[in-house]
């Protein structure tokens, strides 16, 4: 799969997604998102150096893209209301993000021009007037210092949160995969025997769905919403 975007360039999943869509000169629609899903997943797989703090964010978007792509390829699949909502949200979010990405470029250009307004230090030469608050004592100072201490973010705790978030998301993607598999029965497992990781499985699965769509593999479905049997066309 050919793409030439480097991770360092991207601040987050929305930026990557926007770049992929812009590169294909597409508008922001569900269909466009489904078209760039593979590239997006490839990106996650190939960039082992995604920062832990950003991985969860990339996976969230990946999960939504997988929904969108499966919907585009197999319109007969039924999605829950919640899943439909997630799909709509992503299109909206990307459109919003695009506006602010563009605005941020303009702001960046403005900052570059360095047309800065400088302020002066206040009350130069004005002598301080000693005016202590009447009711403040040493114990109040202790109380406020304790509250300052409790507000200090603890870095390790943040990281733990992110790790558990990533695990939840991996489960989520795993569930998605299972869900799709159940809906479309096939000898899918043989396709993914050599899969390196979950993202790999997902990509293979989406690839298979794509083949269905392009009629490279046969689809046999007795009735709407019944199991679909897949077989290679040349078998």
């Amino acid at each position: 799969m050919a793409y030439n975007v480097k991770l360092e360039k991207f601040e987050g999943p929305m930026e990557l997604l926007l770049e992929l869509i812009n590169k294909e000169k597409l508008d922001i629609t569900e269909l466009s998102l489904s078209k760039v899903t593979d590239e997006f997943l490839e990106h996650i797989r190939n960039n082992e150096n995604i920062h832990l703090e950003h991985l969860a964010d990339f996976l969230t978007v990946a999960a939504r893209l997988i929904l969108i792509k499966s919907k585009a390829i197999l319109p007969m699949l039924k999605f829950s209301e919640e899943e439909e909502e997630e799909i709509k949200d992503l299109t909206y979010q990307l459109a919003e993000y695009k506006k602010f990405k563009e605005a941020s470029l303009k702001l960046g250009a403005m900052a570059e021009e360095r047309h800065i307004c400088y302020s002066r230090e206040g009350f130069i030469g004005v002598a301080p007037v000693f005016y202590p608050p009447e009711d403040l004592n040493a114990y109040d100072l202790k109380k406020y210092f304790l509250s300052v201490l409790s507000e200090i973010p603890i870095v390790e705790r943040l990281e733990e949160e992110i790790v558990s978030e990533v695990i939840t998301l991996e489960e989520r993607i795993n569930d998605l995969e299972t869900m799709l598999r159940e809906k479309v029965q096939s000898s899918f497992s043989s396709l993914v025997e050599k899969a390196k990781d979950k993202v790999d499985v997902i990509i293979s699965f989406l690839a298979m769905l794509e083949m269905v769509k392009q009629r490279i593999i046969m689809v046999d479905q007795k009735e709407l919403f019944e199991e679909i049997q897949l077989s290679m066309k040349n078998q």
Partner: protein, 180 residues
């Protein structure tokens, strides 16, 4: 009070304070009505906006006197100011969302950027380009808004002078929900 006198008082107050001054404070010190101060400030801002070396920045309920943006090159050589430092891509994205949509919560910001923003927010707060306030809807969360230092850095007299402010400050979905 005579309007010319009030303008003179406002000039003195803004000059000596250096920092942003709340309109309420000017009202109190000058012993006049809020309206009168607003009116006088508008006139002063207008007077200072044409080829002068000083300018008056307005944000919410405060005003600050600064050097004018046109003289930035010359003044930057005289002052050592962190306000001149560059901004990262993440910082610019975050700032633009806060500038057009603030006061805004971290959660809403992340819903747009799709990325955890806590580190960027912390850095921007430290640099004084953002301010935070308690969320009036309660909880221990904050709302973020831009600061006077942000306006100074961009050379803006007011937030509404940002490009496309009218359109970008509106969230189409919120509007449609309200209408619907």
């Amino acid at each position: 009070m005579d309007q010319e006198k009030l303008k003179s008082i406002i000039e003195s107050i803004l000059f000596i304070s250096g920092e942003p001054v709340e309109i309420a404070r000017i009202v109190k010190v000058a012993g006049v009505e809020n309206e009168e101060v607003e009116q006088a400030l508008l006139i002063l801002q207008e007077e200072y906006s044409h080829g002068r070396g000083l300018t008056i920045i307005r944000k919410e309920d405060s005003a600050q006197m600064t050097t004018s943006a046109e003289n930035a090159d010359i003044i930057s050589e005289l002052v050592k100011s962190g306000i001149q430092d560059g901004l990262s891509k993440a910082a610019l994205e975050t700032l633009s969302i806060v500038a057009y949509r603030g006061p805004i919560s971290r959660v809403s910001m992340e819903a747009i950027r799709g990325v955890n923003c806590s580190f960027t927010l912390r850095a921007l707060l430290l640099r004084g380009l953002l301010e935070r306030m308690d969320d009036p809807n309660g909880g221990r969360s904050y709302l973020y808004k831009i600061s006077f230092d942000f306006l100074k850095k961009m050379g803006l007299e007011r937030i509404e002078s940002l490009p496309d402010y009218e359109t970008l400050s509106q969230d189409s979905r919120i509007e449609s929900v309200l209408e619907g």
